[in-house]
């Protein structure tokens, strides 16, 4: 089990090679912090995860966003992980990891990195609609589009 955990950590640190070109890196300490919050989020949401694929997917999906900065990188990734697990359950498991990460990224950029707005409004409605098999609701930020 220790070998698996070690391999996962090494895999995550290796992503620094990719994210460094966007000015983002996680050192051992920051990564341990993120993984600690990941474990707490999983426990809170009553979920289990094999490996650290979700964090990898989020890092890759968000690395080139204009709204992530190195100072808050670890904290932002931790928050994104928490939201990911929450919305995964909210969607009734009907949304794939990649699809959810992409949805979160698009809303994250639309709300200029404001996680509270992103999660509280449009993403929540979107995920709920997905679970209920309803048409996806229009994003409030799109309401003014085409009126002028």
């Amino acid at each position: 089990m220790l070998d698996i955990a070690k391999r996962n950590t090494e895999g995550l640190l290796a992503l620094n090679d990719y994210t460094a070109k966007y000015g983002l890196t996680l050192d051992d300490k920051a990564l341990a912090l993120v993984l600690g919050r990941r474990d707490a989020a999983l426990a809170e949401q009553g979920r289990v995860e094999f490996g650290s694929e979700v964090l990898k997917k989020l890092i890759l999906a968000f690395a080139d966003s204009d709204f992530i900065e190195q100072d808050t990188y670890a904290d932002t990734m931790s928050s994104l992980l928490e939201l990911f697990y929450y919305f995964k359950g909210e969607a009734g498991e009907l949304i794939s990891d990649v699809e959810l990460a992409e949805l979160m990224r698009s809303k994250f950029d639309k709300y200029e990195g404001d996680l509270e707005y992103m999660s509280g409004s449009s993403l929540s409605s979107l995920v709920r609609a997905r679970r209920l098999g309803e048409d996806e609701p229009e994003d409030p930020l799109d309401w003014d589009d085409g009126d002028e």
Binding site: L42, R47, V48, F50, G51, Y85, E93, D97
Partner: protein, 297 residues
Amino acid sequence: MNDKGLEIIGGSYNADELYAILERNCFLYTMGESTTLPEETARELMLSILYCVRLHGTMHPGAAASSLRTGPSLRAAYEAGVEDAKALTKRARLLHSDASRHAPAALIACAPFKETLDAVSTFFALYDAQLFAHAIPCELVYPLCRPVEERVQGIEYILSYLRTLNAESDILARFPQTELANIFHTGLGYYEEQVVNLCAPAVENALGCALIGLDPLHPGIDESGRRELADALIHGETAPMLNDAAGAVCSALHIEGAARGLVFHITEALAPRLDAALSSDEKTAALSGIFFAQAVL
């Protein structure tokens, strides 16, 4: 579970191996679309792995011992267990087919019995020996006279259920069906819609007949018969008398094998009920709740 190993059916396996199987099954379950699952689903996936390993150990104790000598492999035991579960599923399909084809008329008329046969078909459609081998994805409403133990899981439960059901069916088929339906109507009312076991009352009536020297093949017992029964039982010891009667019923109806075991099980369960009825002031009336007469047509 610790980091070094875990004990499963007497063998010690590496926990990493179990983790790898679980991870693989999670991948299969989500079709590779998710690496995170609700705890409940992960727990079920884990229970399925352990079920398959145990099943293999139970079905092939020699092979399991050999595996331990040559170096235990949890994956090998799990995969062999999945194949064992699939083989048992084939066996259960045959028993289900027998249950459908050979059921006697009195049982076919019973709605819960038909619902149960349909439910077993559903089981075969939904059962997943690889990911949820321990699960029983159907509800079997027809109550057996000897229920399957609750600890029995997955395909073993269905097999055990069908074996007992077919043994009950075999017993019921030996009686004249119209007489049997008639007795059920007298004692149970509109039995066709009731969730009640039918084998036990049929055998109990046959036992009553055997106790007073009547032919167990025609198991209706009227009031005078019940009076005679009360007299006979009061002057003797219930358990040995019933045991002799069970032997007589099996001989008269040519009941053998698993069905014979059921007759003796029903007999054993009847003894305390008879004692309770015989301790009543209205013995004959109390016995009418156990021994049913043919309806007067």
